[in-house]
Subunit: 461 residues, 2 copies
């Protein structure tokens, strides 16, 4: 691309930004977005988080380091008071590096696969498990072939359906979440799950599973997409009668103490009305949790920073919450809502960013029809930034950390939505690192979050 056309587009865009800025709110939102895009600290905060803290799995040393980072970052952003809210969190540990291999191949070297234990899973212990593999596409095939399952390792090879766009994750994650218990029901000794990702590479993607407490708990591992195909070919080919060896040393330890990290500025007119904004502190352990959910934390902190930087004094209390334990328990979100209810807090809105650092497209809006009618009139302010897609659903739309506020206190929900096509390439894998975040997209997300908070603060909901 060379000169002329983009230059013209630029002039047109500048003119349209100017034309929009004809009233106070437009001007204020331009001031907010300019501040974040030019001077925002989200990207540099994320760098510090990723490179000095790293992974932050619940109960790990990284979690505690993350909590210390969060308190400092909130103070630096201008929070008037910063405090911890204690909650018990699950403490799952991975143990030593997992192994999955055909150990005694016919006249050759062992065939190894790239795998990661699925979070919350039990391990095989040092001895490992050796069993034949039965590959199924989905739960329906498992049910049909239930008589073949006993004593075997069930391999769920369900593809990530790219045609579902943002729905592909939800569609495929059922096997990671529920595959182990579904297979245990028919006597399987372990499960292997194709990684839930759009990428075709060697990175396995972990994430949580949930055991049915009425069934035996069996080991569960995620396999990279390339190696899922390799394993499938092995089973269909000359390894069909061979037993696969897997070894995992993960285990669930007793619950331990974690904390929501909270920072706030008190409202000048309605200090009792609380606007909660957050992302989650914990991350999976293979990388830095840059997109999931370092991005959401630094964007939330940026809301506070940006409002302070432009000298805006909120009427209502702005409270940033770095939620504990979203990934494998949701204890932080639950605790926050329970305490808010116990204290009879007036939580007028909650906003969450947990969809990665990509280009922001708008908000999922979980609120009453009347509230949404009001929010919808603000769409025009988000149009210049292409973040004007507001999706209404009365009972949802926010995110898993603020969902409990909705259930307990009927708090209106805003979930930042993004273009979302790159996120699941990185998510829960070794490549969810700082380098896979774009500064401008991250800051644009923080900017539109701040703009929405400004509007709700000014006009209420």
């Amino acid at each position: 691309m060379q000169l002329q056309k983009t230059f013209l587009a630029g002039l047109l865009l500048s003119a349209s930004l100017f034309a929009t800025a004809q009233n106070d709110d437009s001007l204020m939102i331009k001031k907010i977005t300019d501040e974040v895009l030019l001077n925002g600290k989200a990207y540099s905060n994320l760098y510090t988080l990723c490179k000095t803290v790293g992974q932050r799995l619940s109960g790990s040393a990284g979690m505690y380091k993350g909590e210390a980072w969060g308190q400092q970052a909130l103070k630096d952003a201008g929070a008037q008071n910063v405090y911890l809210q204690e909650c018990m969190v699950p403490h799952w540990v991975r143990g030593k590096k997992e192994e999955a291999a055909y150990k005694k191949p016919k006249g050759g070297a062992a065939i190894n696969f790239h795998v990661l234990s699925i979070g919350n899973a039990v391990g095989t212990g040092d001895k490992g498990v050796q069993a034949k593999v039965i590959e199924v596409k989905n739960f329906e095939e498992l049910d049909k072939r239930k008589d073949e399952v006993k004593g075997k390792i069930v391999f769920f090879n369900y593809p990530f359906n790219k045609t579902l766009l943002r729905g592909a994750y939800g569609d495929a994650v059922r096997y990671r979440g529920g595959g182990a218990s579904a297979a245990a029901k028919y006597g399987a000794v372990a499960v292997i799950v194709r990684s839930v990702t759009a990428a075709y590479d060697d990175n396995p993607h972990t994430g949580a599973l949930h055991y049915d407490e009425a069934l035996p708990k069996i080991p569960a591992i995620a396999i990279s997409t390339k190696d899922a195909d390799k394993l499938s070919n092995c089973i269909k080919g000359s390894y069909k009668d061979d037993a696969l060896y897997i070894r995992t040393n993960c285990m669930m330890l007793p619950d331990t103490i974690g904390h929501n990290v909270i920072g706030e500025i008190k409202g000048t007119e309605f200090p009792d009305e609380i606007i909660t904004i957050g992302g989650h502190m914990d991350s999976w352990d293979p990388a830095e949790g840059a997109n999931d959910d370092g991005a959401g934390m630094v964007q939330s902190i940026e809301v506070l920073h940006a409002l302070n930087a432009i000298g805006y004094k909120p009427k209502r209390t702005i409270r940033i919450v770095l939620f504990s334990n979203e990934e494998n328990g949701g204890r932080g979100g639950d605790k926050y809502a329970e305490e808010a209810k116990a204290k009879n807090e007036k939580q007028i809105m909650a906003m969450e960013s947990d969809g990665g650092s990509e280009y922001p497209r708008g908000f999922g809006c979980g609120m009453t029809k009347e509230q949404f009618a009001k929010v919808d009139t603000w769409k025009k302010y988000f149009e210049p930034y292409d973040a004007d897609k507001f999706s209404f659903s009365e009972g949802g739309g926010g995110g898993s950390d603020i969902g409990p506020l909705q259930r307990l206190l009927k708090t209106a929900q805003f979930g930042l939505s993004t273009t979302g096509q790159r996120y699941f390439n990185f998510h829960h894998s070794a490549i969810d690192v700082f380098e896979n975040v774009n500064a401008q997209e991250l800051h644009l997300g923080a900017a539109v979050m701040t703009a929405m908070v400004y509007l709700v603060d000014k006009y209420g909901l």
Copy 2:
């Protein structure tokens, strides 16, 4: 992010995709997008282009290798006839690696800067140029300080204004394009231009300049953003009286032969009505031209491939053009339109993709009001893919390769538009490589291009 919320979002999205698919066009567009997202060849074609051809600067060996790749790719996509359209192209060569340094620092090692000659520029020759540097922010400051310029190197240190979003490039590129002649007017011996990019790193970004033929042609180099700040600090600090040494060996050779690479399928009902779709073959030389504009080429080829793959027989002739020499001359686009005019072709629409491989947001639509009124009724088909932003402008909106068709034949223009915030981090620099392209976003762009071509083919314009 864990299970529940995205799963729900996925179900809702699937339901909404299904609900939309209530008429034939919706069904056909779903078929098209499914085909591209599941089986598209754009990403693998781009891999071959980037890794076996690489850079494709006009007149270089890479350009000829690219033309061979293009013919094969068009045949593989199912083009009925593939041919070359000859056009003369500029032949600018970079010569050996450029140098910019303070050579005789006070008691220390030389201070080196990361630079690249700006395309079309003259070189300093082997001896180089050594002169004091005068830093200016913009053309206004240059004009004010014109008496200080004679015999010096002018350093345009104009920042990329991130608050302009997609307008930032057009705003800043004026200094790369016109800085040399503006400075030569006042007697400068060379110019250094801050790279036109949102990134803050060590990569200089090249691109074209245009000399005013009435003025002396002086050497021109782009400097990385980090080194622009370093140079600025040197000038303000202890190097303010020192002369900077620059050496460039680039030069413009006589024009040489290049080709537009063309492949088409004839229409079944109106073979004389032509739909032109294209990206450009040439790229700058520091990298692989993956985003600029390998992406646009493979997306255009994918339109043909996808229509063939689903068995759709177009009524009108679908012609894919891989344009020669967009970057530093625009000769391919000019030639194509001139020949179309000479043959009195009925070019009913032209579509271009040259905005990088990012998430597609819609189309710039340069056409009559009546035509746009028709196109605008199709918006609903693009909504499920978030590619429903249609920007109307009667006299523009397509792109620089198809612009000549509009000027000569009033052909309606469609330019694929993207979220566009990452593109200028890579653009014209050493990191415009395959690894900085996301497969799903690339394919989604190709899918919505194909959908629009299908609609225009079916209903005319």
